[in-house]
Amino acid sequence: MAPPPVPRRPAAGSSRWHWLLVVPVVIPLLVFLYNSKDPYLFGFPRFYWLQLAFILIGVATTTLVYQLTKSGAQRR
């Protein structure tokens, strides 16, 4: 009943680059980084502008990992 052996392509599904994605998940959960009013930016206290800025870290990381792991990159 065991499935027939299949050729494995470890790079496409389980790239080491995926570990980079831990960074933008952990940083926004570190309250001490942003739980303060100073410094202000455009009238926003740090609590608000810094958490919005974390979006950029998330986007940069997912974009980078996508470029490194997209299918087509290491196939054929």
Binding site: P3, V22, V23, Q51, F54, T62, Y66, R75
Partner: protein, 539 residues
Amino acid sequence: MSGHVTEIVIATVLFLVVSGIGFWAARWRRPSTMAHLNEWGLGGRSFGSWVTWFLVGGDLYTAYTFVAVPALLFGAGAAGFFAVPYTVIVYPMVFAVLARLWSVSHRHGFVTPADFVRARSGSSTMALLVAVTGIVATMPYIALQLVGIEAVLKAMHVEPRFALIIAFAILAAYTYQSGLRAPALIAFVKDSLIYLVILVAIIYLPYKLGGWHKIFDAADTKFKATNGTLLNSANEWQYVTLAFGSALALFLYPHSITGVLASRSRNVIKRNMSALPAYSFLLGLIALLGYMAIAAKTKPIGTDGNTIVPVLFDQMFPQWFAGIAFAAVAIGALVPAAIMAIAAANLFTRNIYREYLKPDATPAEEAAVSKITSLVVKIGAVLFILFINPQFSIDLQLIGGVIILQTLPAVAIGLYTRWLHRWGLVAGWFAGMALGLWMLYQIPNAATKHAHFGGSAFPLSKWFDPTSIGLNAKATVYVGFVAVLFNLLVAVIVTLICRAAKAPDGVDLTNPDDYVADAPSEAPPGLTGDQLPEPAPTT
């Protein structure tokens, strides 16, 4: 009443335009037949990056979110801002997971998360639990979209009941006819309107209110007693666990998975993980409308805090623009409501009807059952709102988030490993569910004076003295987070027992290769004949 005529006319016209688009959507990327769940329920599995961005964005960032998150900041200050870290961390978190889910679903023709669990764990019990959890968690979410529309109608001083029934009848009709293509196409209009309204709001309103610092000053003054525009040691753990737990839960919801499975390739999903945070930015700005309402001295209608944003718009904008904004919120409710109804209908069809009632159902029969179920689901949501206190649907939605998290081991962990025994998964589900519901039951609601199901922040002091581990005596945590940890713990323990007792494993119908498979090529839309409707190929 008379003061709102312009608003009502503009909102009605936009609503009718969108309804027309919904009916027309059946012809968009016209398939050879609509009588197949891949077509009606997943839009032909053919959506590219742009359509997926609008569809999933319109699906996840619902009208209720746009109304409730600012209401939360208005009422509770910084704690309500959890929606931002929540929607920032979710995309890197699910980046690789969703690509695997898409691949294995594409290979095997899975339509729902329960389809996957059925094939992967070999446990029909676990698949049924996932399906039922999904349906139960989704139903109040649909009802909540009506709460979003209701808030707008109240701000326009329209009697909500009659208008709600009309709106949902139209929605039900075009969803029935066009399936997932309707919300996909309407999402373009909805999101364009929302982006327009919010960009105008965040420039125009601070200008009218004297700048951002005035807005934050007003909030500081309101929450002075608790320094509530920042977190404190009593609510910071709630903030973190709620953001984390909500992010874990988001893509376990059936409607999120429907949006993901409708896309054309792995790359479409991965690209969207970078593009969807644009909505998170929007949500962060929308959240701050709550503080603008404080600065503008806006008063909600009656005790309904959710009316705060519509009333703010009504108060600050010229009538014609308020009409556009109200239409944006109302249309914003229709897109997720349609996708949720489709997702719930697909779960019923694939994992209850086909599994237990008619195992030899043809694809055409499946599509027919799904279409009718989607109607039933919508009628249920309307009845819910008309005859039951809307507050109840908010409580149920809270419970929904906690219970959908209990499918995490079977669905998300199942995508990576079969180490957890199928009986361990089932036991963990029951354990997490029981603990989660018991904790929610114990939380009183201070505002409504209900003794139970009053929120998702569980005071640790009910269990032990939080100061003994260095926490604030009033520290709270998110129920779902604790419940899913307990679920995992029980799943691991029962797995170890099953292994020791040599209990038989279920049969895995998937191959390791399935999880990294991509679309054969950029196939033209509609050409998806390579997918079999069966959940698994013969091995």
